[in-house]
Structures are given as C-alpha cells and as structure tokens.
C-alpha cells in the first residue's frame, strides 16, 4: 500500500522512525548472542537426524516450539514413533521457568495491548527476556521497549531455525563443537546479563541461594532440568522471606 505513495512512512513519521530505530538496536544487540546460538543449533539439528527425525521436521519443531532446552530434551528422548506424552510433558517441565519469566515481565507490558503482548510472548526465550528486561532497567523505565524486544527476538529466532535446519542437513559433517569451548558462550552471555542486574550483595542474596540449590540439584540429578526449577524456586522463597516489611 505505502509503495504507491511517493513519500515513505519513515521519512515523515517520527513514531515510526523511533520504532525502526529500536528494532535495529535490538537486532544489533542480538548479534553476540546469536553467535552463541549457532553451534548449539547445528548440534541440535545433527543430533535430531541421527535419532531418525527427518531434515524437514527439525525446522518445523524449532520454528513452532523455539525453546532450546526442551528441544534438546525431546531429541534425547526421540524414537520412531516418538513417545508423544513423554516428550510433551518433559517440554512442559523444562519450560516451566517461562511461567515465572512471564510473570516477572507482566508489569513491564502494561502499556501493550493484550493481543500484541500474547503474540510477542511467543518469542520469549531466556535471552530475549533477559535482554529486554535489562534494557528497561538500564533506562530506568517500567515500560519494556517492544520494538527492541522484537528486534532481539527476530535475530535469535531466525538464527535458531535456520541453523538447526542446516545442522539437520549437514548432520554427519559436524564434529564435536563442544571441544572448542562454544558452550561457554551461553554462560558468558548470562554472566554479563547478571552483572547488569546486580544491585549489591544484600539485594542479590536470593541469587546465591538459587546458585547453591541449582548446583546441588544438578549434582544429584544431572538428567532432566530439575535443577532450574529447584534453584529458581529456592531463590524466590528466600526472596519472599527476606522481603522488606509491608508498607515500606
């Protein structure tokens, strides 16, 4: 439609221009993180075809589901035919942290119409969620920049779907990427995000509770994703206990 008009929207509408700028800022911010996605995506795709999943099914799964942890779990449990209920319930468990993440994001989404919020939440992953929240905190704003969030999400989503598909096609050619230290990329990203959220030792005491409980749970139950649920919940319980008195 706009193409029939001689002037483009971005030339005259400042709101539109601001949105585009935020979108690009998000896209740019997603670059270091998506570099970390690539090796994981390749490995996931390669593992999936080794387990008998077709090369077409891989991008269908990663495109509709878009949750790396649950997809690695699904592949580990994959068989032919797949155990439908087992895989579905394990995905729920692995992604149960999204419940907390969505709840934490809600106060930052009050300026967004519900329909748009529900649509964009499809793209909420650990990284896009943390980056958008960290960005709002840095700007000392209670409103999430939706265009920034979508910019980050588009970068991450496309990378994930495209490179899992490539992994499925290249399958046997991909060796052991972990050997080269690529798995440290995620830890590095999360550590920088955590530093951005650091509010002093007292305010962040629940983090240490989470870390200790999650690490212990992981040592006792290395399979599955129990450690995420256990660590997060323990941290939140301690936050509730240490909360400042009501009315303060």
């Amino acid at each position: 439609m706009e193409a029939t008009h001689p002037t483009t929207v971005s030339d005259c509408d400042p709101a539109q221009r601001a949105t585009t700028r935020e979108l690009c800022r998000g896209l740019w911010a997603s670059v270091p993180v998506l570099l970390g996605f690539i090796p994981f995506a390749l490995v996931l795709g390669a593992q999936a075809t080794q387990k008998g999943m077709s090369a077409v099914a891989v991008p269908v799964m990663t495109g509709l589901n878009f949750g790396g942890g649950s997809e690695f779990t699904a592949i580990r449990l994959w068989s032919s035919p797949p155990h439908l209920l087992l895989i579905a319930s394990m995905s729920l468990l692995v992604n149960s942290r999204h419940l907390l993440m969505g709840a934490a994001l809600e106060p930052y989404l009050r300026h967004v119409p519900q329909g748009r919020a529900l649509a964009s939440l499809f793209f909420m992953c650990d990284e896009s969620w943390a980056m958008a929240l960290a960005d709002a905190k840095r700007r000392a704003s209670i409103n999430l920049s939706m265009a920034y969030f979508m910019g980050v999400s588009i970068g991450l989503y496309l990378t994930w779907v495209v490179f899992t598909a490539m992994g499925a096609m290249l399958g046997p050619l991909i060796g052991d990427l972990e050997r080269y230290g690529f798995d440290m990329a995620f830890t590095a990203v999360f550590l920088v995000l955590l530093r951005g959220m650091w509010r002093g030792r007292v305010a962040c005491r629940p983090w240490f509770v989470s870390l200790v409980v999650a690490a212990l749970t992981y040592c006792l139950m290395p399979t599955g994703a129990w450690y995420v649920a256990a660590g997060a919940l323990a941290g939140l319980c301690s936050a509730a206990l240490m909360a400042p008195k009501e009315g303060k």
Binding site: H98, A130, Y180, M184, A188, A232, A240
Partner: protein, 100 residues
C-alpha cells in the same frame, strides 16, 4: 514430509511451551501486586539465569572451571561480545591444554 506421529508430537510440545510463555503473564494481568510480591518478582530474572548456568559451577573438569573463572572476570568489566569471545577462546584453549 514428516509423518503424523512426528507432527502430533511437535504440535503438542509447541502448544505446551507456548502456554508456559503466556500463563505467567495472564495470571498477573490487571492485578495489583503487594510490595512483597513485587520484591519476589524482581528477583526472578537473577534467580532463573543463575540456575540455568549453575551446572557450569560444578563441572568436574578443571579446564571448565578455569574457563568459567576467566569468563566471570571478563563479565565484570566487558560487554557481551568480548566476554563471549574471551569465554569461548579461553575455555577452548584450556580444554586443549588440559585434554579435557
């Protein structure tokens, strides 16, 4: 073309994942939060992120622990990209040297 069992599994898995993404948001929509609840929600990001990476802190490979220490040091003063590069290179080199 993927078979029906594969598509069904993927569809069920994807709908469950999407539900986890929207339920927390929907549960709090149009609610007023108590200060205690707000304090707890403020701790969610840190607690979730640190739990996700907790396994790195208890790795049984010395190369990984050294790599983590270097990455943490980088994270305290650098932005995401240089920290990621330093983390990958340091861990890759250490694994090579230690034969991890």
């Amino acid at each position: 073309m993927p078979d029906l069992a594969t598509l069904g599994t993927i569809a069920l898995m994807a709908s469950g994942t999407y539900l986890t993404r929207i339920l927390g948001y929907l549960a709090l929509r149009n609610r007023t939060l108590s200060p205690r609840m707000r304090h707890v929600l403020d701790s969610v990001p840190g607690c979730v992120l640190i739990s996700v990476i907790a396994p790195a802190f208890v790795s049984d490979r010395p190369a990984d622990l050294f790599g983590l220490a270097i990455t943490m040091l980088a994270a305290t003063r650098l932005s995401i990209l240089p920290t990621v590069v330093i983390g990958i290179v340091a861990t890759g080199l250490l694994r090579h040297v230690f034969g991890g």
